[in-house]
């Protein structure tokens, strides 16, 4: 059961189109896993539709419709399939289990065929992804079962989604489908639960700084690379 969701404010920014591409990827992936948020989103889209219905009609340029039909007649009719195929990404190297992902993440993986998993510590692996933007670092992280990350704080907002397994920190337990938002300055020390490795997808706005003596060693290993 999914217990942690994006709040209404974040969902509204996503629905109205002002949320940046990085965090929108995380919200979209959560929404594809969460029926409650899909229902909220459909309400937010209805709100957009109602505002469109009520917007003050403005006269168009002369011949706007004819110009459009001219354009349409020049483009060959595309065949659009109702159920778009979601590409199944080909696993690379020794990649953690990537099945049952929301389709937006399958698409993202398929568009990153040359992705690399890097071992950051004995227990933590990371895979950065190109996602067509430069303001957020978009990545998968895999934390080995039962192991923890050094205590770290976030200099920028971090949007994350648990895809497999679960982890806990002083705020609670997060399992498959849970959405986690960490504000800058929040310090936490996530630990993956014993039974399974924990796979997360995240978008981070600024470098995650590691605090504590281990962080001194780890920090150079985790340079911030948006994209």
């Amino acid at each position: 059961m999914i217990r942690h969701h994006p709040d209404e404010n974040l969902l509204l920014e996503y629905a109205s189109g002002s949320l940046a591409r990085g965090p929108s990827l995380v919200v979209a992936a959560h929404v594809q896993m969460c029926a409650d948020c899909r229902s909220q989103l459909s309400t937010l889209n209805n709100l957009g539709g109602s505002l469109l219905n009520g917007s003050p009609a403005q006269p168009l340029q002369a011949n706007a419709f004819e110009r459009l039909m001219e354009r349409i007649s020049q483009i060959p009719e595309k065949i659009i399939h109702k159920s778009e195929d979601t590409p199944t990404p080909v696993p690379v190297g020794r990649e953690p289990a990537m099945d049952h992902l929301p389709k937006v993440l399958n698409k993202l993986l398929a568009s990153n065929p040359n992705r690399r998993w890097k071992t950051l510590t004995r227990n933590l692996q990371m895979c950065r992804l190109k996602s067509g933007q430069r303001d957020y670092e978009v990545a998968f992280h895999c934390l080995r079962s039962g192991s923890g990350l050094p205590k770290h704080d976030h200099r920028g907002q971090e949007f994350a989604l648990v895809l497999h397994g679960s982890f806990s920190d002083h705020n609670g337990i997060y399992g498959r489908g849970d959405f986690v938002l960490r504000e800058p300055g929040q310090v936490h020390r996530p630990i993956a639960t014993q039974d399974m490795d924990c796979l997360c997808f995240s978008a981070v706005a600024a470098p995650v700084s590691l605090t504590g003596i281990r962080g001194l060693f780890l920090n150079p290993l985790i340079p911030f690379r948006p994209g």
């Binding site: 509204l12 109205s16 209805n46 709100l47 219905n53 917007s55 003050p56 706007a64």
Partner: protein, 205 residues
């Protein structure tokens, strides 16, 4: 289609109608199934001026007139091409066209940001789904939602509907709205939450 036009506090008229979804949704379905150009013309003549007004009118200056006209062309081109995907069992024509329009606007904005690294096979429609797959349970709910939301918008206090309009019509984030209106971010957030609570209270009874 008998529409009653009412004005809320900010001069935006919201249609309080009982049946707006059916005629336009039926026409749009016809456009998709039969590639019916006459039906498409009717859809265009109705929605294109609304799309322009959504972005450029006396109350909104999100885009200049030229850019708004360009956006109208892009949106209606997509509406024509994607009409076969429209499913009136899942959304009304206006909600579906809103999602296409929002995505075109996101695309337009991306193209204008020269320094963005735009190299990605992940399309806007992959991230902002135009055909939200609802649970079957929710299909029944949505028709009531649409009516109730249109009615509810009219009943909102101006300070709340104003913020919703800025978010949707001008595409502004909460922090941009807070800067512009010189309100604390927390106030903007709580007004949005209050507004949503009031809108939802109309159908979660």
């Amino acid at each position: 289609m008998a529409h009653k036009l009412r004005h809320n506090g900010n001069g935006i008229a919201v249609k309080a109608s009982q049946d707006y979804k059916d005629d336009w949704s039926r026409l749009l379905t016809q456009v998709g199934a039969q590639r019916d150009r006459q039906a498409f013309e009717r859809v265009f003549r109705h929605f294109a001026p609304l799309i322009k007004g959504f972005h450029h009118s006396r109350s909104t200056q999100a885009l200049n007139a030229e850019a708004a006209d360009e956006l109208v062309q892009e949106v209606m081109l997509k509406v024509w091409h994607k009409a076969p995907c429209f499913d009136q069992g899942k959304a009304s024509a206006s909600t579906w066209i809103f999602t296409i329009m929002r995505n075109c606007r996101i695309d337009m904005l991306r193209r204008s940001q020269r320094h963005q690294n735009r190299d990605s096979d992940v399309d806007v429609a992959d991230i902002w789904d135009e055909n939200l797959e609802n649970q079957p349970l929710l299909f029944l709910q949505h028709k009531r939602n649409e009516r109730d939301i249109a009615d509810g918008l009219n009943a909102l206090p101006a300070e709340q509907s104003h913020i919703l309009e800025k978010a949707y019509m001008e595409g502004k984030s909460h922090s941009e709205i807070s800067e512009e209106l010189r309100l604390p971010l927390g106030t903007v957030k709580s007004r949005v939450r209050l507004a949503m609570k009031k809108l939802q209270a109309r159908f979660v009874r």
